[in-house]
């Protein structure tokens, strides 16, 4: 049965937490009180709100303020101490970058060893070194072909194929 007061349940329910917190003006609290007296469902809701608040009756054990704390902090503040809890370094230099560094070092070392082994292998096969390379004489047929070529770009492109 709807209680015989002005406030509906829909209007009353959102006011209950503020009422329990003592944060409603008398203008809002007065009709709510009347509604709660008349409405068992909303009264039950208020009761549950009160039950929940009772869990906050006991704060956690206090940490005592150490002797001389205020004097010490004031001294540090006036000396320009920025405090212990400084911002973290940028993430790029933090966690993300760290696992990559050893991997890069290992890869660089492996590449260096590979190059060294390759150089040794080349030396053993007695292949000519870079500074010992000489241009060979062109075959006679290539010399004749080259002599007949005009010196224009289009013709160079057209003559690009070795099988013509």
């Amino acid at each position: 049965m709807e209680p015989a007061v002005n406030l509906t349940c829909e209007a009353a329910r959102p006011l209950v937490p503020g009422y329990l917190d003592g944060q409603l003006s008398e203008l809002s609290a007065s009709p709510l009180r009347a509604h709660l007296l008349a409405c068992p469902a909303c009264r039950e809701s208020a009761k549950e709100g009160r039950n929940l608040k009772r869990f906050f009756a006991a704060p956690p054990a206090a940490v005592p303020v150490p002797a001389g704390f205020a004097a010490r902090v004031a001294r540090r503040a006036l000396a320009g101490d920025p405090g212990l809890l400084q911002p973290e370094p940028p993430p790029a230099l933090g966690r993300a970058a760290r696992p990559l560094l050893p991997m890069l070092l290992v890869a660089t070392a492996a590449a260096a060893v590979l190059l060294f082994v390759l150089a040794l292998a080349i030396q053993r096969q007695n292949l000519p070194a870079g500074d010992g390379l000489r241009a060979q004489e062109p075959p006679p047929w290539l010399e004749n072909e080259a002599r007949d070529l005009p010196l224009t770009l289009d013709s160079e492109a057209a003559a690009g194929s070795p099988t013509r």
Partner: protein, 203 residues
């Protein structure tokens, strides 16, 4: 008896003197608020060393920003704002509590449904329960909550802060304080009944 208004005026005077380089005035400000800031920090960590670190950092930050204190709110509200941000930064950096947006629909929908009556009702804690045990249970449940919900519950339930001051500390509207508290309580109830089903009310 010293009124709130007189306290605020004394705070303003001490701030002026501290800005002028008076170490004793700043020390007096720290002494006024150290207990409250330690108590607030305690809700974010069990470690006494970390509580002291958060409190110390709060006061050092406050001193560095003292010239930006506009007196639009009281010094205590301004200091609380720094303390809450320092504690949340601390949690974020230590990776203990990831930041979650309160407006996330996934985060808000389920608890609202729970509070709307679809879940079990909550009974009051047993009167014979020792205070230490009750505190342990409450802290255990609070640890389950996203820090944004934990903070509104701490400010409202332990610090007994009015909605207006909570709004100033958190930099949000009173309407947002109310809806955030609503969701925080729903989330608290859900976690409490999940972890300690013995607190479900018998029908």
């Amino acid at each position: 008896m010293v009124t709130m208004h007189e306290l605020a005026r004394e705070d303003d005077q001490l701030v002026e003197e501290a800005l002028g380089g008076n170490a004793l005035s700043f020390q007096l400000l720290v002494e006024r608020y150290q207990e409250r800031i330690f108590a607030l920090a305690r809700h974010y960590t069990k470690s006494a060393v970390e509580v002291e670190d958060i409190a110390q950092d709060t006061f050092l930050k406050a001193y560095r920003r003292l010239d930006s204190f506009q007196r639009q709110s009281s010094f205590s509200t301004w200091l609380y704002r720094i303390a809450v941000n320092t504690a949340l930064d601390f949690l974020k950096r230590s990776g203990r509590s990831p930041v979650q947006a309160v407006e996330d629909p996934e985060l808000s929908a389920a608890p609202v449904r729970a509070l709307a009556g679809s879940g079990a009702s909550l009974s009051a804690p047993d009167a014979n329960l020792r205070r230490e045990e009750l505190a342990r249970i409450t802290q255990r449940v609070l640890e389950e909550l996203p820090e944004i919900f934990r903070t509104v519950l701490v400010l409202r339930e332990f610090e007994d802060m009015p909605y207006q001051e909570m709004a100033e500390v958190l930099g949000i509207s009173i309407g947002t304080v109310e809806s955030r508290l609503f969701r925080a309580r729903a989330r608290f109830k859900e976690a409490l009944l999940r972890l300690y089903p013995e607190f479900a009310a018998g029908d």
